[in-house]
């Protein structure tokens, strides 16, 4: 295969002067040699501070009860579930970039897949905190598990929450394995290049005796293909299950058949945004411009735009459905979204998820990384607001007007959200210094293919 695909004028997916050796030197060096630096240190300090706040919040929550949040009757779900859906959706984009691109053999995937896979694992792990902590009695979360016991109690299989529990579990496990399998050759590289014996031991153990034999490569390739093949349907299943958590309810605004595809679109949308939000600063922080090229950023931005348009279509379909169906409660719910006390949430969602992403139609914008970063941040915010809107505006005013009631968050609601961001960042920053942020072996392959230099 040539450096540039025949018949297209696309820029190369890797800088022309990169060789397999330079890839290893550069990417491996981030882990093995690069000093921590004030930027990493200060970022990690902030993340740790937020994580500490989350830990304090969790302790207080366990001591006092979920009443420390602003939830009430009728709005019995709010920030915690919003945060959960938001985080798990962020993982989706990562898996999709990595697995679907792998299955479809997209060459530019090599530079972003590690970043996306690790993001997935951490986002799903962080998201898992919320469904457990939002329980009134979190210490009994394992009751969702069908374990044998004397009283023959069993989970309730009609509840989407039960299926959601399984979906998250499966997804988290597959994501971890997927990430790990891809890491193995790189771990071996680190093992071989580690300066200290301790590091060599640790990486060596993790590398599972990888020697780079053709047999190893073949097995890894087929394992990756299988896992990728497994991950893609899981992306759809897990987010469909998240959607069914709501569609199963009969509330206006929840009870909707379009939710599963709608949620998948939203998940991809925010997932791509998160890839961009991570990749753009990482690229600068670790000097990865040679691998994460303008083309990568522009490609993900295009994907984000595409997913965004799919989301926007869902918005339109939902509103159309309400007024076409003329169900009294659906219409009232939509009118509340437009004009009610939470209208600012709706309109902000429209600005962030519908209007601003239209800028990405312009190549100039796509090539301006600051602009893309800002837009992606806006999408993340917009998608959080969208989930908040879906949850709260359906709950606060449902069937009996006598029971309508507002939700006001407490500082703890905000603290848990900020703390979860802190935890995610802390995990990610740690990862960036302990494991290669880009897939060295895939980049070597690209360098070899495109620049034709022997490893």
């Amino acid at each position: 295969m040539s450096a540039v695909m025949p018949g297209t004028a696309l820029p190369p997916v890797i800088a022309p002067d990169e060789t397999p050796a330079s890839v290893t030197r550069h990417v491996g060096g981030i882990v093995l040699h690069l000093p921590l630096g004030w930027r990493w240190m200060s970022g990690f300090a902030v993340a740790l501070l937020l994580t500490t706040m989350l830990a304090a919040g969790v302790a207080w929550l366990l001591y006092e009860g979920v009443g420390i949040w602003g939830i009430n009757i009728p709005v019995a779900w709010s920030f915690a579930i919003t945060d959960y859906v938001w985080w798990i959706a962020l993982g989706m984009g990562g898996t999709f970039v990595s697995a679907a691109m792998y299955v479809t053999r997209q060459p530019w995937r090599g530079a972003v897949n590690r970043l996306a896979e690790s993001m997935t694992v951490f986002a799903v792990a962080v998201s898992g905190i919320f469904p457990i902590l939002h329980l009134g009695r979190p210490w009994f979360f394992y009751w969702l598990f069908p374990y044998p016991d004397r009283m023959n109690v069993w989970p309730q299989w009609r509840s989407s929450l039960e299926w959601d529990f399984w979906a998250i579990l499966a997804y988290l496990l597959v994501s971890i394995v997927f990430l790990y399998v891809g890491l193995i050759p790189d771990l071996a590289t680190l093992r071989d290049r580690a300066a200290s014996r301790g590091r060599a031991m640790v990486y060596g153990l993790l590398a599972l005796g990888w020697r780079g034999e053709a047999q190893h490569w073949r097995r890894m390739e087929s394992a990756t293909l299988m896992l990728a093949g497994l991950s893609v349907p899981l992306v759809f299943s897990v987010h469909s299950m998240v959607a069914l958590d709501f569609s199963e309810g009969l509330l206006p605004g929840w009870h909707s058949t379009i939710f599963p595809p709608f949620f998948i679109a939203g998940a991809l949308f925010s997932g791509f945004a998160m890839v961009l939000v991570l990749a753009i600063p990482m690229r600068r922080l670790f000097g990865l411009q040679a691998y994460l090229r303008d083309r990568h950023i522009a490609n993900v931005a295009k994907l984000m735009l595409a997913a965004g348009l799919w989301v926007d279509y869902s918005y339109a379909a939902e509103i159309f459905g309400a007024f076409y169906g003329m169900d009294r409660y659906e219409v009232a719910m939509q009118v509340h979204r437009f004009f009610g006390p939470y209208a600012w949430v709706f309109w902000s969602t429209m600005v962030f998820n519908v209007l601003q992403i239209q800028l990405l139609w312009f190549e100039r914008i796509r090539r301006n990384h600051v602009a893309v970063f800002v837009i992606a941040l806006g999408v993340l915010y917009g998608m959080w607001l969208e989930r908040f809107m879906l949850i709260v505006t359906s709950l606060y005013a449902d069937f009996l007007p006598s029971s309508w009631g507002m939700f006001y968050p407490t500082l703890w609601d905000i603290g848990f959200l900020a703390g979860s961001v802190g935890l995610f960042l802390a995990l990610y920053l740690l990862f960036s210094r302990l494991l290669p942020v880009l897939s060295m072996h895939e980049l070597r392959k690209l360098a070899h293919r495109h620049n034709g230099v022997a490893p």
Binding site: A56, W60, E64, G65, V66, G67, I68, G70, I71, N72, I73, P74, V75, A76, W77, L135, G136, R137, P138, F141, W143, L144, V153, P155, Q156, R158, S159, S160, L161, E162, F165, D245, E248, G249, L250, L251, R328, A332, F339, G340, P341, Y342, A343, W344, L395, A397, F399, L400, P401, S402, S403, W404, G405, M406, Y408, P409, T410, L411, W412, I414
Partner: protein, 1006 residues
Amino acid sequence: MSPLDRLAQQVAEAARTVAPQRPPTFDAGAARRRLAAARGPVFWRSLEELSDDEGFRHWLRRQQPQLAETLAMDRRGFLKLLGASMALAGLAACSRPPQGEIVPFVQGQPGEAGGLPRFFATALPRHGYAQGVLVENHSGRPTKVEGNPRHPASLGATDIYAQAAILQLWDPDRSQAVMHGGTVATWDGFQAALLATAGRMRGNGGAGLRVLTGTVTSPTLSAQLDALLRRFPAARWHVHEPAGNVSGALGTTTRLHLERARVVLALDADFLLDPAAGVRYTRDFVATRSPERTGKNMSRLYAIEPTPSVTGGMADHHLALESYRLQAFARALAGRLGAGGDVAAAGAMEAVSARWLDALVQDLQAHRGASLVVVGTTQPAWMHALGHAMNQALGNVGHTVEYLDTVEKSPAPGGTLADLAAAMHAGTVDTLLALDANPVYDAPADLGFAAALRKVPHLLHLGLYRDETGRRAEWHVPQAHALESWGDARAFDGTASILQPLIAPLYDGRSAHEVLAALLGDEVRDTRALVRRQWQEALSDDADWAAALQAGFIEHTAAATRTTPRFATASELEAAADANAGNDDAQALELLFRPDPTIDDGRWANNGWLQELPKPLSKLTWDNAALVSPSLAGQRQLANGDMVALELDGRRLEVPVWIMPGQAARSVTLHLGYGRHAAGHVGDGQGFDAYLLRTSAAPWNASGLRLRKTGERYPLAGTQHHFDMEGRDLLRVGTLDDYLRDPAFATAGDRFPEPPPSLYPDRPRGEYAWAMSIDLGSCIGCGACTVACQAENNIPVVGKDQVRRGREMHWIRVDRYFEGGADDPRSYPQPVPCMMCEHAPCEVVCPVGATVHDSEGLNLQVYNRCVGTRFCSNNCPYKVRRFNFLQYADQASAALQAQRNPEVSVRRRGVMEKCTYCIQRIEGAHIEADKAGRRIRDGEVVTACQAVCPAQAIHFGDLNDPHSGVAQAKASSRNYAMLNELGTRPRTTYLARVRNPNPALGDEPA
């Protein structure tokens, strides 16, 4: 408060100062224009939304709810409730059987198993008047009050106060020791002080001795007071009932026969909540409101009142008139009816009033002998005389109204609180004995009572609490609760009851009888012996005594009826009326004082159940507020929660306002009973003290009020925020004509006459199918069901802060919807318990199966299994589920543990709970039926809400039995299921309300 909370609060305060909120202003003009433009029945929401002006829209858009209230969790109020009672550990062990033999309502079998509840009949006095009750007793602990079906004031139902009496009994804040000044003393010490008092008085015939009580109907106490006045002829007895009946002061008690009335006019009369007879009157009234039974002879109620009441809410026609305009109207009406009054006044009427006058005269006269004019207790004596004259002229006396010689004991002239205060100021009072009275708090402000007390050397106080008066007293003695003490009292119709104790006094409390016996030097000191001696003649036989105890009242003790009331003379009447006539300045505001709908005159302020019970019309809890009319709010730019300064006769009080639909334009209502500072942990510091503005000259309706907005805001805690039905058919109402034309009018417009099809079986095939029917035509919205349920099911009190956060725990709530314009809308209550859906949306979404269906159709909540996902609540379209967001149930105080129903689990933090149809009662009936090898009989299971309901609006039973009460109720053509279109197939259904408007007045809401 924890440091974290403090930090959170500081940040929240900072956030508030950074983002100041502009409160929405309510434009009454705009609202009216919008309403005028609207077509069809207009239901509306909170007033700000009704107004729908651009400013409000703008505010809504700008408002970030996120920032509006990042309040730190105020755990103080909550902890106050919890820790109300730490001092009482081990108290349960102190309860013991009462002294003297008491007699259960139904005699238990010899050798009966322990642990089963037993019922004892007794009576609970309210404002001195007895309400017959049956008290459930678990192993010596009274836990629940039910009405006494045979007692004339109860007929099996009770009001909210009888329900809350249990919590009052077990209230850890009750006075627990005799106090001499600030130190703990003994009963013997107090008796010595009484002996010294008697010694001082012996020389001067008791000059300087004053006794103050509330209303007295107790024959024993009456006799003791008589003996006291005989022994000390110069002593004086004063009566002070802060929210009492003034008509009794005329020497005549009016006895209404609402069951015989076809047309009723209530002039500022809330007879359905009458303290003495409200429960009975409610039963009598709703008997005339069931179209199945009455057909076209359904009664019609007109209500004219300055401030909306529960009775006004039941009216077919409601007119909001300021007190002075109401009185002018009454005079004009009396004139037209040929009952004195002022014929000329009719000419000066406004158009609406004139239309009403014509319609009323016509309707009342068309039903001579079957009509009834009721004048409220808050109206002056001359208005009552006018009412009597109208009834006389309409030939109603002896039919719909009777007179009784007053049941209350009346003091000699000069026996008012004002007379007492004057004597105290004059320095002629040596010893004041206050028996169950709290004048330091609830005396009118103009009497300067607290100041006058400084001139009284000896204040002796007997009270349930060491309240404001108890703290000023030389001697304070804890009073035995009515459930702890022997006694007697009369009901509104004179029927006497013996009060028997259910438990020995928890804190060595004493009765008023004991105190007076000690003062009199009576050789009999024991309360039971005193009561027994009083009834020696009537109940000479021990068997009669036992029968009276068992029945809960004494046969043939009702007062004799008469057809002529003893009135003020006609000339006095005219003079009073004329003196009043000048007082109709259209620009002035009037201030109305009313007893609070839940904590009454303040004596229930420390009762968490009543504090948290939403007020029937405003749905506010834990506070009183100045109720203002929408038009006044529009004029003065007032929003709910704005602080205003009320000035009356130079006295000033700052209170928050609440915009009350149906309030007369120029009337401002302030409820009594709040703003206490020595009520206890629960009641202290809640609300605002209306007594500071009240005068003895105008105890109910005072003119010359000045109201000014201060710019401050005050947080009020309501349980309902939207009173508009949004055009949904949740609460269905039709007129009598609608009903007669199509008895099934309620379901005629249903889009889905049958619930949508389902794959699940329609109904489980159990032996029983429990179900409930609620008659909206009968429900008056008093809230007794809510308190009864709270008592029966160990429902915790959560406090104002948690109510503000939308976390109240009531299993059955009473919603209220308004229809029509804000100035004078119709209002409808709707009790909402669990609907026990056949296809319950809550069940399918629980991941652990903590809420399941049983074979008898009950939707069960398994607390032990619940992990607290709260999906069930989200998915409940009726929003009847309640969640323990925090540890609400007090697990620390022994007294409150002793109060609980042992048959109902106390729920812990983190679990969901909801109405169970009183499953413990169903199971009890199951056990009894199984033992006897028979089916459960209809009426054997009575839910707490059903039992307490004065209107008998709730039917419960087995649908599999076609003859059961509930099956018959559901067979009514008025039966409908709320939100039927969702396919939930609720077991709780409603009977549509039927109104009976007068065609002559038109049927558009004002």
